[in-house]
């Protein structure tokens, strides 16, 4: 039995502790966001967040996840109430087939949480591990930049409030 904390919820799963997180998310927890792309840590389709880092879910056994916070694209919002990064991807229409997109969103989310002022170059370097075959890159970059702006402006007032306390 392994305990997982996924998108803030606790789950107990009874599978081989060596099972990569990806298969547990998809099959046991029935979450579609993280995708299988290579299983080799080469494409980023399976990217999720572990605590504050973007990681390849295809290569992280669930034993290693015990007690750490896993976040998937499902945890960022819904189609009706998307999170700021998801919203930006919708606004930029940043998908063709879309298969790579959940991984892109999670990698971008990790960057923007750490560095809201990320530059274009930061974004390009940071997104390097994730592949897209449809050639949606320019829109993905645009979406991440757009999300950075909305996340920054959402952050500012709350910071000011805190400072004012």
């Amino acid at each position: 039995m392994t305990e997982l904390i996924v998108n803030g919820e606790r789950h107990t799963v009874d599978v081989d502790p060596a099972t990569p997180l990806l298969y547990v998310l998809r099959n046991e927890l029935k979450l579609n966001g993280a995708k299988f792309g290579c299983g080799l840590g080469q494409c980023g389709a399976c990217t999720v967040m572990l605590d504050s880092d973007p990681v390849f879910a295809c290569l992280i056994p669930i034993v290693a996840v015990d007690g750490r916070r896993v976040r998937t694209v499902e945890g960022l919002g819904t189609a009706e109430h998307p999170g700021p990064v998801q919203r930006a991807f919708m606004d930029e229409q940043a998908a063709q087939c879309g298969y790579c997109i959940p991984g892109m969103i999670m990698r971008a989310q990790a960057l923007l949480e750490r560095k809201a002022g990320a530059s274009e170059d930061d974004i390009r370097q940071h997104m390097e591990p994730n592949l897209c075959r449809c050639g949606t890159h320019m829109r993905i970059l645009a979406a991440v930049k757009r999300a950075a702006v909305t996340m920054r402006s959402a952050e500012k007032p709350s910071r000011q409030r805190e400072a004012g306390r």
Binding site: P17, L40, I60, V63, A64, P129
Partner: protein, 453 residues
């Protein structure tokens, strides 16, 4: 007493004057710009190969920067140095350097203006390089595209930030030896020795250094340090389970991979990248000499290979993931250390590493070397394994090569230490590593070593 003091001062003054006299270097006159076309193309071509063997670009290019424009931070125990711009830009590069100035820099570690260069620039090896080879390298460098890029000042710890210390260092450690041909060896070996000990400056990483940062001349190629990686010993003390043959060294240097030794990684990768492009004969020569450092006769080589292969196979055959396929053969005992940490390491290995590293069958497509043969796993310390686990292995953009993802964010320090400990005990018969946690912290603190210059 007073006489004695005067005497002492006198001696000191004489010593200082002597030292200055010995170490003072004049500024050489700037050279008027010289057209690239004025260099003999054959000389330039020769220089291109030599510059590649010398891996000038590896240090003289910063990540994302222009080739040869410098700015690469070299971290040393004494502080950070930045490599210089060696493009022929007259203001910021070496465009105003005459060939004499260039040769002096290569041989004596003094720049055109007479300033002493820090020994991170391996002039202690370039002393062996012939005049004609230096001339070729000069021709090559002077025909590059000039890049305007100011050199950054070194950030060395006091008092080493005074260049006079570089001069003193040279008095102690800069030797002007000559390589006499070794008649008992063939031309390739002699060529290899010339390149390895001279221009190739392999000892800069593969020879241990003393507390003042000079190579220990009595222990050449006994294993050293390069950018906080362990640079494996190339002599008989090599940790490689299989003694390297010249062919294997060649495969490794030329093609980044040898099936009995593994994949290039870390600071060696850009060196190999250069060696993939120079004349094959030179790489074969380098391989011949390097293999000879660990002279093993054919029978021993054969025997050790068989033993190592059998060992590596056994250790893989008993992995849980392989059990089904070996159900018919008797099970090997688990490695002796079965602590909780080791169990955690085993489980992480099964989920994170075994996809690629279990060997056997059609799988894995990425075909890494069996870990039981890996020098990294058998090395004296854990740094190389930790580096690779944290940062992974990445080919240059657009070039094919083996990829291993880094696990920096995926695994905690404790998990990485458990994994490394498990891999060590599972795939080698060497004693457990110590100091892994500290080594890991140091690796984590630093930005990833960029393999591509």
């Amino acid at each position: 007493m007073r006489r004695f003091l005067f005497g002492l001062i006198g001696i000191l003054v004489v010593a200082v004057i002597g030292f200055v006299a010995l170490t003072w270097r004049s500024e050489l006159p700037p050279m008027a710009p010289r057209a690239a076309a004025s260099f003999d193309p054959a000389l330039v071509a020769k220089g291109a190969d030599l510059a590649a063997i010398g891996s000038c670009d590896v240090c003289h290019t910063k990540p994302g920067g222009r080739t040869y424009a410098g700015g690469y931070p070299l971290e040393t125990p004494f502080g950070v140095l930045y490599s210089t711009n060696i493009t022929p830009d007259p203001d910021t590069g070496i465009g105003a350097w005459s060939q004499a100035a260039f040769t002096r820099a290569m041989r004596e570690g003094v720049d055109r203006r007479g300033r002493h260069l820090y020994p991170a620039f391996p002039y202690d090896h370039f002393t062996l390089t012939t005049d004609s080879d230096i001339a070729a390298i000069y021709a090559f460098m002077m025909t590059r595209q000039p890049v305007s890029a100011r050199n950054e000042d070194a950030r060395l710890n006091f008092p080493l930030n005074f260049r006079i210390f570089a001069a003193g260092w040279k008095l102690l450690f800069l030797h002007h030896d000559e390589l006499k041909p070794e008649p008992s060896r063939d031309a390739a070996w002699n060529r290899g020795r010339y390149l390895v000990t001279g221009l190739g400056h392999c000892g800069a990483c593969h020879t241990p250094r003393n507390s003042l940062g000079a190579e220990k001349r009595h222990r050449p190629f006994a294993g050293g340090d390069g950018r906080n990686w362990y640079s494996p010993a190339l002599d008989a003390s090599s940790p490689s389970p299989i003694p390297w043959s010249a062919e294997q060294v060649f495969n490794y240097l030329r093609h980044d991979f040898d099936p009995l030794h593994g994949q290039v990684a870390g600071p060696m990768a850009p060196v190999n990248h250069n060696l993939a492009r120079v004349p094959e004969a030179d790489v074969r020569a380098i391989a011949a000499y390097t293999a000879s450092l660990n002279d093993t006769d054919a029978a021993t080589q054969q025997r050790q290979t068989q033993t190592a292969l059998a060992f590596a196979r056994d250790r893989e055959a008993t992995l849980p993931i392989m059990r089904a396929s070996t159900a018919t053969t008797p099970r090997q005992p688990e490695p002796p250390d079965a602590s909780a940490q080791s169990k955690e390491g085993a489980a992480i290995f099964a989920g994170a590493c075994a996809t690629c590293h279990h060997g056997g069958g059609e799988w894995p497509s990425t075909r890494p070397v069996p870990l039981g043969l890996s020098t990294t796993v058998h090395g004296p310390d854990a740094r190389n394994l930790l580096h690779i686990v944290v940062d992974g292995i990445h080919p240059r953009p657009g070039e094919s090569g083996k990829i291993m993802p880094g696990f920096a964010g995926a695994l905690t320090d404790a998990q990485i230490v458990a994994l490394a400990g498990y891999v060590r005990s599972r795939f080698s018969d060497k004693p457990a590593w110590t100091g892994m946690a500290e080594a890991l912290q140091q690796i984590r603190r630093r930005p990833a070593v960029t393999e591509a210059p």
